[in-house]
């Protein structure tokens, strides 16, 4: 989604789709894609009438040319959920929840210090 030029219009939408097949061991990450998108923009701004004059018109207009290149990768981490009740789904999301400071209700195991 991008910014809309007109507030009454919906923002422009861009979809990037990727379809692939891979066999990945439990807990490993696979990188898919590598889609390359190249965007080239050629724009000209000119003063009405004056900008259209031959030779002198160049003084009343400006040209810009931009080129953008982006690559799109998908990093997919596969985890096998063994529990039929998806209890272990919480385990998969636990590190991310801990990073976000969200309490998942599962007690934390602290390492033991010996005095």
């Amino acid at each position: 989604m991008g910014d809309s030029a007109d507030p009454n219009l919906p923002p422009p939408r861009q979809e990037t789709k990727l379809a692939s097949q891979a066999t990945v061991p439990d807990g490993y990450t696979v990188v898919l894609g590598g889609l390359e998108v190249e965007t080239e923009t050629d724009a000209e701004t000119r003063v009405p009438v004056l900008g259209s004059l031959p030779i002198l018109g160049a003084l009343f207009k400006s040209r810009s040319k931009t080129s953008q290149q982006s690559r799109f990768y998908v990093f997919l981490r596969c985890s096998v959920l063994r529990s039929a009740t998806f209890e272990d789904l919480r385990y998969v999301s636990a590190p991310a929840m801990a990073k976000g400071g969200i309490d998942d209700g599962i007690p934390v195991v602290e390492p033991r210090v010996i005095r």
């Binding site: 209700g105 195991v109 390492p111 033991r112 210090v113 010996i114």
Partner: protein, 184 residues
């Protein structure tokens, strides 16, 4: 001339460090100082990891074979996210204190954090072999078993034990919830 070279080589060998901590010779072990530094490090662990690490390194320089300092240095590394180094220190501590469950439990926790679930479970079980009913290990073992989707009468027994004598209210409540979820 040869005698001089040999003498110099001997001096060089004596002054060279044999490992990450020095001195290592049995004769220069100062267990009392190591114990004192370890106790200070244990207090610093909650507030200042760098200070704790420095104290523990000093403790191990005083006595390389002081097991608690290896264990606690492992705790420092674990808190810093240095899992490989932590596992190394817990291994040292485990060998120096074979009858103590804490280094084994800490090693299992390190393996758990490294995503090696099966090895972590096996290591938690060795901690229970040397100290049956060690509640901190029972809790940690039950937790990883529940979270990795294991079931069975052994796990149910562990959860029942935690529900009865878990270290905190949150452990006891979690054990009750987990038992109910498993019975549904």
């Amino acid at each position: 001339m040869r005698a001089w070279v040999l003498a110099l080589a001997l001096v060089a060998c004596r002054s060279a460090g044999a490992g990450p901590y020095s001195p290592t010779a049995e004769a220069v072990r100062d267990s009392i100082r190591a114990q004192e530094l370890n106790a200070r490090a244990a207090d610093a662990l909650a507030t200042d990891l760098d200070e704790a690490e420095s104290l523990l390194r000093d403790a191990l320089s005083a006595d390389l074979f002081f097991g608690p300092a290896h264990n606690n240095l492992g705790v420092v590394y674990l808190k810093q996210g240095k899992l490989y180094e932590a596992a190394g220190e817990f291994e040292w501590a485990r060998k120096l204190m074979p009858g103590h469950p804490d280094p084994r439990m800490n090693l299992a926790l390190t393996l758990e954090q490294a995503g090696q679930t099966d090895q972590a479970i096996a290591t938690y079980k060795t901690a229970l072999e040397v100290w049956p009913g060690h509640i901190a290990t029972v809790q940690a073992l039950a937790r990883i078993e529940v979270l990795s989707g294991r079931t069975g009468p052994d796990l149910d027994g562990r959860l029942a034990e935690i529900a009865m004598r878990g270290e905190t209210e949150s452990w006891r409540a979690w054990a009750l919830r987990s038992r109910m979820a498993m019975s549904n």
